[in-house]
Symmetry: C2
Subunit: 79 residues, 2 copies
């Protein structure tokens, strides 16, 4: 059994309205000094040892990320 | 200028319908061996050096996470 984290973030060239909204809200709430916010998704998966890196990449690419507008990374973490 | 990652995940005892939907979809799509999926949010912030860890914790706690149902972690990453 392994623990896997998949991070999915909007590509740099893609507008990120959610992140923009957070960035705009911060000064209004009294937090200065944050110059950029980007919002993405984080998935935590528990997988059997039979699931190899190729399968994980396929899962991230086809199901968790929209590769037209998002980049993804997969990494195994110690559980 | 520093790069900060804030991870926001649903608390363990909270139902996570989005993650559940992904977990249920995987076997239908031919991916077996994934026993659990939890979906959360990942924020990437660029902050000035004037922003200290206390301010980052405050931002995560008040603006990025709903602490009733979500846990958060803040970490600085090398940019």
């Amino acid at each position: 059994m392994a623990r896997v984290v998949v991070d999915v973030m909007p590509k740099q060239e893609i507008l990120d309205p959610q992140g923009q909204a957070v960035a705009n809200a911060l000064p209004r709430l009294g937090f200065d000094g944050v110059t950029s916010v980007r919002q993405g998704k984080r998935f935590e998966l528990e997988v059997d040892d039979s699931v190899d890196d190729a399968a994980l990449a396929k899962i991230a690419e086809t199901l968790l990320a929209n590769t037209v507008i998002e980049d993804w990374t997969v990494r195994r973490v110690e559980s």
